[in-house]
Amino acid sequence: MDKTINQKAWFLVLPVFLVVAFSAILPLMTVVNYSMQDTFGNNQFFWNGVGWFKELLDPTTDLGERFFASLWRNLFFSAVILAIEVPLGIVVALSMPRDGWRVAACLVILALPLLIPWNVVGTIWQIFGRPDIGLLGYVLNNIGINYNYVSNEFDAWVTVIVMDVWHWTSLVALLCYAGLKSIPDAYYQAAQIDGASRWAVFTAIQLPKMNRVLLIAVLLRFMDSFMIYTEPFVVTGGGPGNSTTFVSIELVKIALGQFDLGKAAALSLVYNLIIIIVCWIFYTVMTNAGSERPASKGVA
């Protein structure tokens, strides 16, 4: 059969090319361009090669030190919120009703924090935690706990973490709930017949059946917390000192605070690369989790 030659089809694809070019490829190339040059304003640029990258990845330089400090800080933050939000989300999902009007009520309440704009979340907690007018800060200080997120690093961290848990545990809970709902009743009935305890039902049925949604939840929460900017910026502005300055806050400081376009571009490329690599790892794990691996050789 002869293939119909119709080049007009390209016109249908062209808009997509244009949109992607202007929204992704051109900006990215601009950043790549910046990362190789230095500027002192006046739109004058000087070639710097891989100089910025060398500096960035060398912890003995100022730039490298700031980058690695914020990177470890950020990874620690992600680890802490994952360690809290994932188990908490599972517990919330397990304790939700399985049917009736209460399901709708629970879902709406859970969804509320997810619907609030991020800087509003930041503002809410910024005011909530203030020792002079905030309910939380005021009450804590009056019952004898010295709490001030502006001057105390530990308090600042607690505030940022509690805020994130408040904001995002719902997402984990909703995903887990969806996973739980997809388990056929026969599994629970079989477990009852088999005399399984509540804990055995959880470890033998619910957790394994939830592992895919849990992977997605961990991926989403890791990505979001690794890229977090708005909420801590609104609450603590990265302080006190640099104690809550995460990578994206550091990036904005360099790019807009100091107007070091070259350094900022190099940092954002490395930042981007880390995120892509983590995504790829998760993707690989997820696609392999469901597929058949070669059967074990063990024979009884």
């Binding site: 056929p184 026969a186 599994y187 009935q189 079989a190 009852q192 017949i193 088999d194 005399g195 399984a196 305890s197 055995a200 470890t203 033998a204 049925i205 957790l207 394994p208 059946k209 058949e292 691996r293 059967a295 074990s296 063990g298 024979v299 009884a300």
Partner: protein, 361 residues
């Protein structure tokens, strides 16, 4: 191991005060003896799964009691009931190996390890699962997974009964036969009471020594396969069991004669006191109606078509408006349009409002 008694047991998913005619299971009183192989047979929606779930405790009855060895266990939860059940679709625990899956019901009950190992080995051997014992259960085929489910049902030796809810639905036809005979063999070896739910009469008749036929939430007959075949207590049993099913046609019955469209069929027994106003039908299995060349003294019928089943041929005929299936004796060349029908009078049963009427000799 136990005798199971159902006392006036009934269930409605709409609650106790629902309309009695809408009950999923209408009141039933019956006994399942220890060590029996039972089949619960009926079409979809007849209440057989409900009955099974009532016995296992997954569903709590609206009324009535369930006794194990005379002890009322109606309020007990499934976990405390000492019953095993195998579901229609395989249920396996994903993270466990085949062996761990089989051991799960025993481990949950704190059986000593040596005993668990021995029993798991025995059941795995009976189900040909031994080579797979150390493999992850998720990696197996649907057939093998269902065998694991069966194994988990059979692994406990102390259960009052093992309930099967259409367990062979997902199995290939080829393997179905093997597994069914395997179950039958297991029943002999393990001395367990087994109740097997199915809508497939072959499955029921080959597995069970007592078949309980259900229809519209009611147990209409329970008996050996031969009893169900020879003397269906309800027109539904006659129609549902056998292939093709029993001929059930409206007739006027008086004394030792039944009349269909003016034609007379002789009966072996006398039916003098039939309830007036009831719908009277006669039922006779196609196997006991023979086609013959038209002859005086035989009922004449019009032939609609012949179904050749290979081993046996059945003719679809009509007497007036009444449709019959009748056996074509081997070697008989089939008459063109009309034929005579030979009834075996001892095999013709009379039904009033669908229930068998015992005539007087």
């Amino acid at each position: 191991m136990a005798r199971i008694d159902l006392v006036d047991l009934a269930h409605s998913y709409g609650g106790n005060d629902a309309d009695p005619t809408s009950f999923a299971l209408k009141p039933v009183t019956m006994t399942w003896r220890q060590g029996g192989a039972y089949a619960l047979l009926g079409p979809s929606g007849c209440g057989k799964t409900t009955l099974l779930n009532l016995i296992s405790g997954i569903v709590t009855p609206s009324r009535g009691q369930i006794l194990f060895d005379g002890v009322d266990i109606t309020p007990l939860s499934t976990r405390k009931r000492n019953i095993a059940q195998v579901f229609q679709f395989p249920v396996i625990y994903d993270t466990m190996t085949v062996g761990q899956n089989l051991a799960f019901p025993l481990r949950n009950r704190g059986v000593p390890k040596a005993e668990i190992d021995a029993r798991v080995a025995q059941i795995a051997n009976l189900l040909d699962l031994t080579p797979d014992l150390n493999r992850k259960a998720t990696r197996l085929t649907a057939d093998a997974k269902q065998k694991i489910s069966l194994g988990r049902g059979l692994v406990r030796s102390d259960v009052a009964a093992v309930l099967f809810d259409e367990p062979l639905t997902v199995i290939d036809p080829e393997l179905k036969w093997q597994l069914r005979s395997k179950l039958k063999a297991l029943h002999r070896d393990l001395d367990l009471t087994m109740i097997y739910v199915t809508h497939d009469q072959t499955e029921a008749l080959t597995f069970a020594d007592t078949v309980v036929v259900m229809h519209d939430g009611r147990v209409v007959q329970s008996g050996t396969p031969a009893e169900l075949f020879d003397k269906p207590a309800h027109t539904f049993v006659g129609y549902f069991i056998g292939s093709p099913g029993m001929n059930i046609v409206p007739a006027e019955v008086r004394g030792r004669e039944a009349r269909i469209d003016g034609h007379v069929i002789g009966l072996n027994r006398s039916y003098d006191s039939l309830p007036s106003g009831a719908k009277i039908e006669i039922g006779v299995r196609p196997e006991f109606v023979d086609i013959a060349p038209p002859a005086p003294g035989l009922l004449s019928a019009n032939i609609d078509r012949i179904d050749d089943l290979g081993r046996v041929r059945f003719a679809r005929v009509r007497i007036g408006d009444a449709k019959f299936a009748a056996r074509v004796p081997p070697g008989l060349s089939i008459p063109e349009k009309s034929a005579g029908l030979k009834f075996d009078p001892s095999r013709v049963h009379v039904y009033a409002d669908s229930l068998l009427v015992e005539g007087t000799a």
